[in-house]
């Protein structure tokens, strides 16, 4: 039962990263692909109707983590206190920038909202990557299962780590490149004209950066977290996850060459899902490794909630998710197609 929940939460987090990832990525590349106000409005409108629904996945994943693995939720949220609060502030600022851009339309304010939107998106992408890096590297858990990390200490690995060290910064930058690429493919898919042309050419350059960083992160991760190669050696079928990621990355390159925007965006979704599932497979059954003493690590067994709660939860979770699939498809259909400069929808 805890294994099922481990997988379901991994799926929810992957869904969040794939969905909110493209609107974060659109924010990161905002100033590169859109050169004047009309073009920037186009970028914002391409994510306008969907970005807040994408963020609901974060809430739903957080809530599900809370009830399925309370000890993990308690330990990681209090240990990552500062970065989480900063993430919250960035999410709030970014939400304001997207929503209020259409209301306060004097030229100075437009510039201001654009900078807030792009800056908060960029920092969020880096922070998410760094958070993932922290989970993989391990945190200084004490005997009671709690820890607290400062934002940075000496940027080295070891017992006294901060949120940011050289490893987590590399993962953060890799996440930034991946999500920027993902966002560029989305904007290319949803727009046409010069914005589309710039997005496509930016995506081609970002692909090479993402490739280089993927190799780097993989090599470094294998050396600092022995659990990952060990899991792959004992369960070789797990190579299917990195294979999915590689397949996504390769097919992305191919579809970008064919200028097939939809398929290259879809390939990027596959790549991100493959990378995240590789990580969680590599750590299983750990959910939060301890850098202090391996015995203090949180696993699915010592972090799980009661058996009855997990079983009853599965029933409502399946019903709820079936409904969510329904609405999500409904909304994406209603807002399908390209956004153009003269469409009559007000508000974005």
């Amino acid at each position: 039962m805890p294994t099922i929940w481990f997988c379901l939460i991994a799926v929810m987090i992957a869904a969040y990263v794939v969905l909110d990832g493209f609107d974060l990525g659109a924010g990161v590349i905002h100033f590169w692909v859109a050169k004047d106000d009309a073009e920037r409005q186009l970028v914002i409108r391409s994510i306008g109707p969907v970005w807040d629904g994408n963020e609901v996945w974060l809430i739903a994943a957080g809530g599900t983590l809370y009830f399925a693995f309370p000890a993990l939720y308690a330990s990681s949220f209090s240990g990552f206190y500062l970065p989480l609060m900063i993430v919250l502030w960035l999410l709030i600022l970014r939400g304001i920038a997207v929503e209020f851009r259409g209301h306060l339309t004097a030229a100075v304010w437009l510039k201001f909202w654009d900078v807030v939107f792009a800056g908060s998106s960029l920092l969020l992408a880096v922070f998410y990557g760094a958070a993932l890096g922290n989970v993989v590297r391990g945190v200084p858990l004490n005997e009671q299962g709690y820890f607290f990390e400062a934002l940075w200490t000496n940027f080295r690995l070891g017992q006294n780590t901060g949120i940011l060290d050289w490893y987590t910064i590399i993962v953060g930058v890799a996440a930034l490149a991946t999500l920027a690429l993902h966002g560029a493919l989305w904007v290319g898919l949803k727009t046409d004209g010069p914005v589309q042309a710039r997005s496509r050419s930016l995506a081609r350059r970002l692909w090479w950066i993402t490739l280089a960083l993927t190799i780097l992160v993989t090599v470094v991760t294998f050396s600092i977290q022995p659990e990952v190669p060990a899991n792959l050696t004992t369960h070789p079928w797990g190579y299917v996850f990195p294979a999915i990621a590689l397949f996504g990355l390769a097919s992305m390159w191919w579809f970008m060459r064919c200028q097939n925007d939809f398929k290259s965006f879809f390939a990027s979704c596959i790549y991100i899902t493959g990378m995240l599932t590789s990580v969680v497979f590599g750590l299983y059954p750990l959910v939060l490794p301890a850098s202090t003493n391996p015995a203090y690590s949180l696993t699915i067994q010592n972090a799980k909630a009661g058996e009855y709660g997990l079983r009853i939860g599965l029933v409502w979770w399946i019903i709820g998710m079936a409904l969510v699939m329904g609405y999500t498809i409904h909304v994406y259909r209603s807002f399908a197609g390209k956004v153009s400069a003269d469409a009559g929808e007000k508000g974005y």
Partner: protein, 440 residues
């Protein structure tokens, strides 16, 4: 220097109090918009659609504020109250996760359609999108109230061998009797806020002689719905909550009422200041026997005072609890008085010209917010010193590794950010009100 527990409590109190200013209007307006859309559908009168569109603008801005200030709430259980989350997450994580899975997806999907899809959807489908937004927001309210109700009156759990609190009955948690009364009381409080906001803006338009047709609709709907909700707030929901308190949290009831000594035929205090040094109510204005009657339906029944309980179980801020409760009840009584007068004038057809009553309605806008806030303060101060009543003390629930310096840092950060949000919110809503219910 405050100890770190106090700063953690301030952090949660500040962020939740600010957050709840928005959902109460969201939930109240959601119902009122459904009423307007239903009137539009039944009468086929464009007038009601225009009215609904005007309120949808305010609803959209208010909803966005509720979302961005609500996300931090779910995180704070883990960031600031880690020991509580670890022990009780298996129970209250259920209701919080269900809120995400059932309500938020529903609301966010259909709100987009409701706000931007009126032309595309047609009248009947647009009415449905309004109804689903209403259902989503009211469901969300239930799941949050059920979470709080479990902390007030824990049911449906068992203790594991490691001291964790595990869920024992899913329906027991969802159908907690405390949750049902608290929900009814809370939702009618939200409807009161929505009704007063609607009536108040209507009164403003009437007094300034703008948009008079719509203004009359706003005042009429606001007064009728608001009166029904205000009466429901007093009886049966408020009364039932008082009697649940008497049964399950008698020490809280004594502290709320400022009743220091156990007595038969206990009086109810209208005004007075709790004096903890001398254990009495200073300058009291009391009505004899009424507390006994309200609590047990007998004029001479005995009501336990604070002296009947060990001091370590007393709520830790009795004066604030006492004042919150009295502010809530006092304002609730004033609402009933104003709305009865307005409804009487409405029946006799003179309301739209009664400048005095219109002024009262217009100026009353902030008070339902204060009453709702005071009500929640009563519930949460009343629960102290317990985090989960009878099971876990507040001091045992805090995050052990998060120092007060870090909590001050984020509390100050939230204060700054929320100040900016308040300015933007007021500015945008003001513009909508100034533009009024007309086509752009």
């Amino acid at each position: 220097m405050l100890e770190s527990l106090t700063v953690h409590r301030l952090h949660f109190a500040y962020t939740i109090t600010y957050h709840y200013l928005f959902p109460q209007l969201t939930m109240g307006l959601a119902l009122l918009i459904v009423i307007l859309k239903t009137l539009a559908l039944r009468t086929g009168d464009e007038h009601y659609d225009q009215a609904a569109r005007f309120w949808a603008h305010i609803f959209g801005i208010n909803f966005a504020m509720g979302v961005v200030t609500g996300i931090p709430m779910e995180f704070q259980f883990g960031t600031n109250w880690a020991q509580f989350s670890r022990a009780a997450g298996g129970v209250i994580g259920q209701t919080l996760a269900m809120e995400g899975v059932f309500s938020f997806f529903l609301e966010s999907s259909f709100l987009g359609l409701f706000l931007f899809g009126e032309k595309r959807l047609g009248p009947r489908a647009h009415w449905w999108s309004a109804v689903l937004v209403f259902v989503g927001s009211w469901l969300s309210g239930y799941l949050i109230v059920a979470t709080d109700a479990w902390m007030q009156y824990p049911v449906a759990y068992r203790l594991s061998t490691h001291g964790e609190i595990q869920l024992a009955s899913f329906w027991g948690l969802l159908l907690n009797p405390w949750a049902i009364w608290q929900y009814a009381h809370n939702m009618s409080g939200a409807v009161i806020t929505g009704s007063f906001v609607m009536a108040s803006i209507g009164a403003f338009y009437l007094l300034t002689k703008q948009f008079q047709d719509h203004a009359k609709t706003f005042v009429r709907v606001g007064v009728i719905v608001g009166l029904a909700a205000s009466l429901f707030q007093l009886f049966p929901t408020g009364d039932a909550q008082g009697r649940m308190l008497a049964e399950h949290q008698p020490v809280t009831l004594a502290a709320m009422e400022g009743l220091f000594a156990t007595q038969q035929g206990a009086p109810i205090a209208i005004i007075g200041q709790p004096d903890l040094q001398n254990k009495r109510l200073d300058n009291p204005l009391q009505v004899p026997h009424v507390l006994s009657f309200l609590t047990y339906r007998r004029w001479m029944s005995e009501v336990k005072g604070l002296d009947a309980f060990p001091q370590q179980d007393w709520p830790d801020n009795i004066p604030l609890l006492y004042y919150s409760y009295h502010v809530m009840v006092g304002l609730g009584t004033i609402f009933i008085a104003i709305l009865l007068l307005a409804a009487w004038k409405l029946r006799s057809g003179t309301l739209y010209a009664s400048r005095g009553v219109l002024w009262a309605l217009m100026l009353s806008l902030p008070f339902p917010y204060i009453a709702n806030t005071a009500g929640w303060m009563t519930a949460e101060f009343g629960r102290q010193p317990w985090l989960i009543y009878g099971l876990m003390r507040t001091a045992q629930g805090v995050s052990p590794q998060v120092s007060s310096g870090n909590v001050w840092f984020t509390l100050i950060g939230f204060m700054g950010l929320y100040t900016v949000l308040s300015i933007l919110f007021l500015f945008l809503v003001y513009r909508v009100i100034e533009h009024g219910p007309r086509e752009p």
